[in-house]
């Protein structure tokens, strides 16, 4: 569940932006470990989920599979909305330090679903992977660092949302965990975009195999991509 607007800073950690940007350079270059074949593997996901998080996690995973099945041939708008709702409703917002015991941990969708907890980038990652799975081209999806004003106050926080660009030059639709609905960016006056990225350039051609080399995969982004591959998402 999203936190109350006035509660704790949602997604703030010192150096979030700086650290993230430094990592960004790396994860645009780095991919993730290549031991997995790069296939979406539901059995593998079920196995990992069951062994790590037990029945509750598995139940949510099954719901997610059902979601993927249900949305497979739906219009894009439905896919975006259902995906956004799925995670916004089922995942409870919490600081990384409280979930994982460390600052700024980027969780895979499986970890997020297993814990049923996550913070802003965990939502964005989960939605990104789900939409990608549903066949939305990654060039239309960008994770966007934004400066968020909380409520009507002047307090600003670092935050991350997922943007859907129909064309490169169009105005994006924003999938945010702070607000339940998907809105065009121009209506989100509480957000100032800073920078955006996606996983384009990380894969050669149509392959999901990373083009880069293991030694470069030191960023959180690449770390999460690696774990996703191990768990059977990619």
């Amino acid at each position: 569940m999203p936190p109350a607007p006035h509660s704790q800073p949602r997604c703030s950690r010192r150096g979030f932006l700086g650290g993230g940007l430094a990592l960004l350079a790396t994860f645009l270059v780095g991919g993730w470990a290549g031991q997995a074949k790069g296939d979406f593997n539901p059995d593998q996901l079920r196995l990992v989920m069951r062994t790590r998080y037990g029945g509750r996690g598995s139940a949510m995973l099954e719901e997610w599979f059902a979601l993927l099945e249900r949305l497979a041939n739906q219009p894009l708008q439905t896919q975006l909305r259902e995906t956004n709702d799925f995670f916004n409703r089922r995942i409870r917002w919490l600081d990384d330090i409280d979930i994982w015991g460390q600052e700024d941990y980027w969780a895979t969708p499986l970890e997020t679903m297993g814990k049923a907890q996550g913070d802003c980038e965990d939502y964005s990652i989960a939605k990104y992977i789900t939409l990608k799975r549903l066949g939305v081209p990654t060039r239309q999806l960008r994770m966007i660092y934004v400066r968020a004003r909380i409520g009507r106050s002047q307090i600003t926080q670092a935050h991350m949302v997922l943007g859907y660009y129909e064309t490169p030059s169009s105005e994006p639709l924003i999938l945010d965990n702070l607000v339940p609905s998907i809105t065009p960016a121009s209506q989100r006056v509480d957000l100032d975009p800073i920078f955006s990225f996606n996983s384009d350039g990380l894969w050669a051609g149509g392959s999901t195999q990373s083009r880069a080399n293991p030694v470069q995969r030191l960023s959180r982004w690449s770390s999460v991509l690696t774990r996703m591959q191990e768990q059977g998402f990619l």
Binding site: A25, I144, P172, P193, I194, D200
Partner: protein, 635 residues
């Protein structure tokens, strides 16, 4: 392929595989590392630039300036900015020339790093896509240097590896070569023994071969001893160990008829005049002891004079033959000393030990010599206990009267060059084995046989000079006639280390001729100086020369000492051959000797064959060849 070659191939293959492999892996790693560095640089820089631009006003001048600043101060090949619809907004590009690195290296490594891209945000919208490619020159340069360093290090490692391998191969090779040499020797029936190497496998092989050699040596020893016992029983007086009368007379005639240095020398007769009285007074056993002492004394003289023959003619009469003796007076003195010692040893009674001496020379006959000596001995007997008489035979053949004349004449003749006589040695089928070539020197208007001048040559220490001249003449003859040729070396020559090195050098300079050269020495000379003879064999054997002994007979038992020296042939003395067809016992001996020789890969040749019957018998007994007055090459 030889084991050593295989070892080297293995070592080099391993070195190439490991070092080449390491080099390839190292270079690949270096290349991919460098490639990643470029990738990281591309993406870091494009993101940093895009991030800065995202924060700025999107004024075209500012954007362009930012791009230009980045491009001009950094190391870039290309920076491009495209609008979202693909239209080019700005572009900076450098020429792609790569300096200071060879083109082939660039072609070889050829980085494959795509340009990196990042999107510039303009609010929520994308302003454009920034494409950035670093200049590869620095990367090629550092890769080139890294490769050069790697190659240098691996080259050094390879060098050290090769040195190490060389050392190891050498330590393996030396004992291995020794083993091979021994195996080859044994293959050639030279049963050598060699020191055991430290390598365990090789040691076992060498031990086995040494055991084989030892047992062959043992067998040889036993067999030759048996033969020698037979021969002694046949030829020697049992009581004294001297030759029987017949055997001695054969020897004497052999010497007189020979064409070498044996044809000249001293002959002595000694008589135990009081034999009957001694026998009566001391008894038979004691008398035999006395006769034996006399015989041994004479043998000692012979040995001291470089070889000789002692015979018991009858009863108390003994004869001593000292061929080529350097100084006849020495023989006389030595004889006097021995007889005196014998007399003193038997103080109880008068023995009566007169002696008579004479020279012999090629023209003499046995009859004349013995008659002369008998007369002189009778005269000596009248002189008292140790009377001594010289038979002064008028020497018509004395060429020169004093040493100086002889030296002058011999040196001149040797310098002028010896001529080589020619006696064929034929094999069992009548084919030519080689030609015996005793030397002739031109003295006083005539070519003189060796018997004439050899005593003087050795007396004046000209043996080595003559032998070298003979070898040169032999080489010239072989070059001319392309046939195998046998020469004799003097006993004095093999004692001369300088001669040996000159001889070896001479033969090395004519390797083809050396292979056709048969070199022989008298048996007595070789056995008297066994070590030197072995040394000669060691030097000449590798050159392809055949080395043999002539006048073999009395010391055949010691052949075991020579079997491993590389002897190629033995020439059996006339005393064994003469009348062989009528002597079944000697046939037995000769057959045994031939068999032993064959088991060692040595050719057995009969010397002094005078008749067809002797020749035929010798061949029937298994001898490989024959030479002598009765042996003629059929046309």
């Amino acid at each position: 392929m030889s084991l050593i070659k295989q070892l080297w191939f293995t070592v080099i293959a391993i070195l190439i595989l490991t070092l080449g492999g390491s080099l390839a892996v190292g270079l690949t790693a270096l290349r991919s590392y460098t490639e990643q560095e470029i990738r990281v640089k591309n993406s870091d820089n494009v993101n940093a630039l895009a991030l800065s631009m995202s924060q700025l006003d999107k004024d075209p001048v500012i954007i362009e300036l930012l791009m230009a600043a980045q491009f001009d101060t950094g190391h870039y090949q290309l920076i491009e900015l495209h609008a979202p619809d693909g239209e080019l907004i700005a572009r900076r590009e450098a020429d792609g020339r790569i300096a200071s690195v060879p083109d082939w290296f660039v072609d070889l490594v050829r980085f494959d790093v795509p340009p990196s891209q990042a999107v510039i945000q303009n609010g929520w919208q994308q302003y454009g896509t920034l494409t950035l490619q670093s200049h590869h020159s620095f990367a090629y340069h550092s890769l080139w240097q890294g490769a050069a360093r790697l190659i240098a290090w691996f080259g050094l490692a390879a060098l050290v590896g090769l040195l190490l391998a060389g050392w190891i191969v050498r330590t393996i090779r030396r004992p291995l070569e020794a083993v091979i040499a021994q195996a080859r020797d044994i293959g050639a029936r030279r049963f050598t023994t060699s020191p055991e190497p430290r390598t365990r496998e090789l040691r076992q092989v060498v031990q086995a071969m040494n055991r084989l050699s030892a047992s062959v040596g043992q067998m040889l020893h036993t067999e030759s001893e048996k033969l020698d016992r037979l021969r002694r029983r046949l030829q020697q007086d049992e009581a004294t160990g001297a030759l029987s009368r017949d055997a001695f007379m054969t020897q004497l005639s052999t010497h007189l008829e020979s064409d070498d240095e044996r044809a000249n020398g001293s002959l002595a007769l000694v008589r135990l005049a009081q034999l009957t009285e001694v026998n009566q007074a001391l008894g038979r056993a004691h008398t035999n002891e006395l006769l034996k002492s006399l015989s041994q004394g004479l043998h000692r003289i012979a040995l001291a004079q470089g070889g000789g023959v002692v015979g018991r003619l009858n009863g108390g009469d003994f004869a001593l033959l000292v061929p080529g003796s350097e100084d006849p007076d020495q023989v006389a003195e030595a004889l006097s000393a021995e007889l005196d010692a014998l007399r003193l040893g038997e103080a109880s009674m008068r023995l009566g030990l007169p002696s008579a001496l004479c020279h012999y020379a090629p023209e003499d006959t046995i009859g004349e010599l013995m008659t002369g000596l008998d007369g002189a001995l009778a005269a000596a007997e009248t002189q008292g206990d140790l009377g001594q008489q010289w038979v002064e035979t008028p020497r018509g053949d004395l060429l020169y009267t004093n040493r100086a004349d002889w030296r002058h004449a011999l040196e001149q003749a040797i310098a002028q060059g010896p001529r080589l006589a020619n006696f064929p040695v034929l094999d069992a089928e009548g084919g030519l084995m080689h030609r015996e070539s005793p030397s002739r020197l031109y003295l006083k208007g005539e070519w003189r046989a060796a018997g004439t001048f050899m005593p003087w040559v050795s007396r004046l220490d000209l043996s080595t000079l003559l032998d070298l001249a003979v070898t040169k003449a032999a080489i010239a003859t072989i070059t001319r006639e392309q046939g195998p040729l046998g020469i004799n070396l003097s006993p004095a020559s093999i004692r001369d280390a300088r001669f040996l090195s000159q001889l070896t050098a001479l033969l090395k300079a004519h390797p083809e001729e050396a292979k056709l050269l048969w070199v022989e020495l008298p048996e007595s000379a070789a056995l008297r100086d066994l070590e030197r003879f072995r040394h000669l064999c060691r030097e000449l054997y590798p050159l392809g020369c055949r080395i043999g002994l002539e006048h073999v007979g009395s010391e055949f038992t010691r052949l075991g000492d020579l079997q491993d020296s590389g002897l190629s042939y033995l020439k059996f003395d006339r005393s064994l051959i003469q009348g062989i067809e009528a002597s079944p016992q000697r046939q037995t001996i000769l057959r045994g000797m031939a068999t032993l020789c064959h088991s060692l890969g040595i050719l057995a040749i009969a010397e002094g064959v005078a008749s067809d019957a002797e020749w035929q018998t010798a061949i029937d007994l298994g001898l490989d060849g024959a030479t002598g007055p009765g042996v003629r090459l059929a046309d």
